[in-house]
Symmetry: C2
Subunit: 344 residues, 2 copies
């Protein structure tokens, strides 16, 4: 039952009557080691089941080949896509991933940042918790000049790169689309506007309204946690309104779906009575009936882009990027949920 002892380069060295230095160099295919010796080293290493100790190497080399990822939650379609994208790119270049979720709490976020720092990750990829309002908890990273990349839910900082979409524009497009379909009483269901994503979407929403001389109504903006349940809740309050809205732009697909389902149950017709537009192009948008108009942008791609940027930064010491922000493409996908004027 006792654990077998760790196999080290010293074991190989002893058995081969050479120094650990030679073994180390041999395993790294160093040119000053003879072919014959290398062969012996590799063979014995294989035979003994030797595997390099990542910690020892990291300690000595002062780099870990590991990235840290902190996201609000792991179990959302978008976030897990991002992570899959990151994993894909990171793996290609031999980087491992240390992953934590903040559960939308800035306190837990800060604690995760500390853990990541303790693990001396070579870089950090972060999507901020909904209640994070400042970046003090990243100071350790900034001070040591360890790259931090924020994606999707970002916050500007001179020492870090932001990767996101143009939320304002996307929201503007979605709202304008609803207006063009004849909607005039358009609600906006979203999350607390502390975060750029929601603030910008609200801005785009307002902008589209303004441009079409539709008066902005404070009571048409509903702040929720954007869960599917929250959507159902909002549906209830919508049903209590004297005059129903004729369009709803939701910051998130699953919340939109929750709302639609609840409304449909009460006989509201979509899009005839109320048109809907969501955000994210979650798979569920193509299952709900009518299919949900939404903003499409690829989490997988965002993850890849973020990871690749980080890799460049880390691998190339001379990589001095003045890049501050990377805006990814996003597009409005029009589906039946918003087509009041019949199919195109």
């Amino acid at each position: 039952m006792a654990n077998e002892r760790e196999v080290t380069i010293y074991d190989i060295a002893r058995e081969l009557n050479i120094s650990a230095t030679t073994v180390s160099r041999g395993l790294q295919d160093h040119p000053t080691i003879s072919k014959k010796t290398k062969k012996k080293i590799f063979e014995l290493a294989e035979q003994l089941g030797y595997r390099s100790n990542h910690f020892a190497r990291s300690l000595r080399n002062q780099k870990t080949n590991t990235f840290g990822i902190i996201v609000p939650r792991l179990n959302s379609h978008f976030m897990s896509s991002v992570i899959a994208g990151i994993e894909n790119a990171a793996n290609e270049h031999g980087f491992s991933l240390l992953i934590a979720q903040s559960s939308e709490s800035s306190v837990k976020e800060a604690s995760s940042v500390r853990t990541m720092f303790d693990s001396r990750v070579d870089g950090l990829l972060v999507s901020l918790a909904v209640d994070t309002t400042e970046l003090n908890h990243f100071e350790h990273f900034f001070k040591k000049n360890i790259p931090v990349i924020f994606f999707d839910r970002v916050m500007p900082h001179e020492n870090s790169v932001n990767i996101l979409i143009d939320n304002r524009q996307a929201a503007y497009n979605a709202t304008r689309h609803l207006i063009e379909q004849g909607c005039r009483r358009i609600m906006h269901i979203t999350a607390p506007t502390l975060q750029n994503v929601y603030k910008d979407r609200l801005k785009g929403y307002k902008e589209a309204l303004g441009e079409h001389k539709i008066k902005f109504r404070e009571d048409y903006v509903v702040i929720t946690n954007l869960s599917q349940e929250a959507g159902a809740e909002v549906a209830k309050s919508i049903l209590k309104m004297k005059t129903l809205p004729d369009g709803v732009f939701v910051s998130n697909d699953s919340c939109a779906v929750g709302c639609m389902l609840a409304l449909k149950e009460q006989g509201i017709r979509i899009p005839e009575d109320i048109a809907f537009a969501g955000f994210n192009n979650d798979p569920v948008t193509q299952v709900i009936e009518p299919h949900l108009t939404t903003i499409n942008y690829s989490g997988y791609e965002m993850g890849q882009v973020a990871a690749r940027h980080l890799i460049n930064h880390v691998k190339d010491v001379s990589f001095v990027s003045s890049t501050n922000t990377i805006i990814l493409r996003s597009e409005l996908i029009v589906r039946a949920s918003s087509l009041k004027k019949g199919r195109k």
Copy 2:
């Protein structure tokens, strides 16, 4: 731009004119260090922004407080739920998570296992790739007696614990339910039966048929990758059949949904023409119309259970569990997609 140097216990020791030993002990709240000294140490540590170096500590202590996770893919509702559950439990006990995806390839799985070993994780949580047929690539772990826990997609091994549901029973229940609803020509859409999960589900399906004297038909079993697209593909071939099936039991919700959508588009009525049952209770089951009958089991819980088991194993040296398999609860949730005989 130059990175600031690492702050170590030696820096603290020097400045305080004490030894590194004392600093180390002080930071660990060791009883033999005086309160006064501890206070000074903590204060200076805070001031200098000292953070313990995880690698150095791991190297010395021969444990990393890190678990490795390898899953077929990260971006599925079930898997991301499991991971969220693992993260939750692990975080409570101060464990970090190193995560990799095998992308359903046993080759990449093996490579991830090596990486995890190199990182000297204290334990491994694995859900196997669809084409993994043996566990040789885990030998390093078994030899060193590092705990490996398999969940959901498992394979029996004397040195490891399996956490899963009773797939046979669940499939039996689902199939029997379809039969009870009057189905006689029941198809089964699933994945390659190399893996326990699919093998057992097939077994349960057959068992239910047999018990009701329904002849098993080889051509009623369709092997796919269980994606939503695959579901749509199967729909096409179903439509070509001379006699349509009157029930379909799918090993996965999103595949079932893909199939249902495609069939509905061609005018097939569900459940009247064909009844459906899925597996996993993915959120999409409650969005599709009619809502999808399915097998419910919590990925989040499975993750928590797996992580807790691993933590017990790792924390308590004397923990000698003879546990070999943990079966979690699962249940059939009946929804409209299978109710041919009207609502209850």
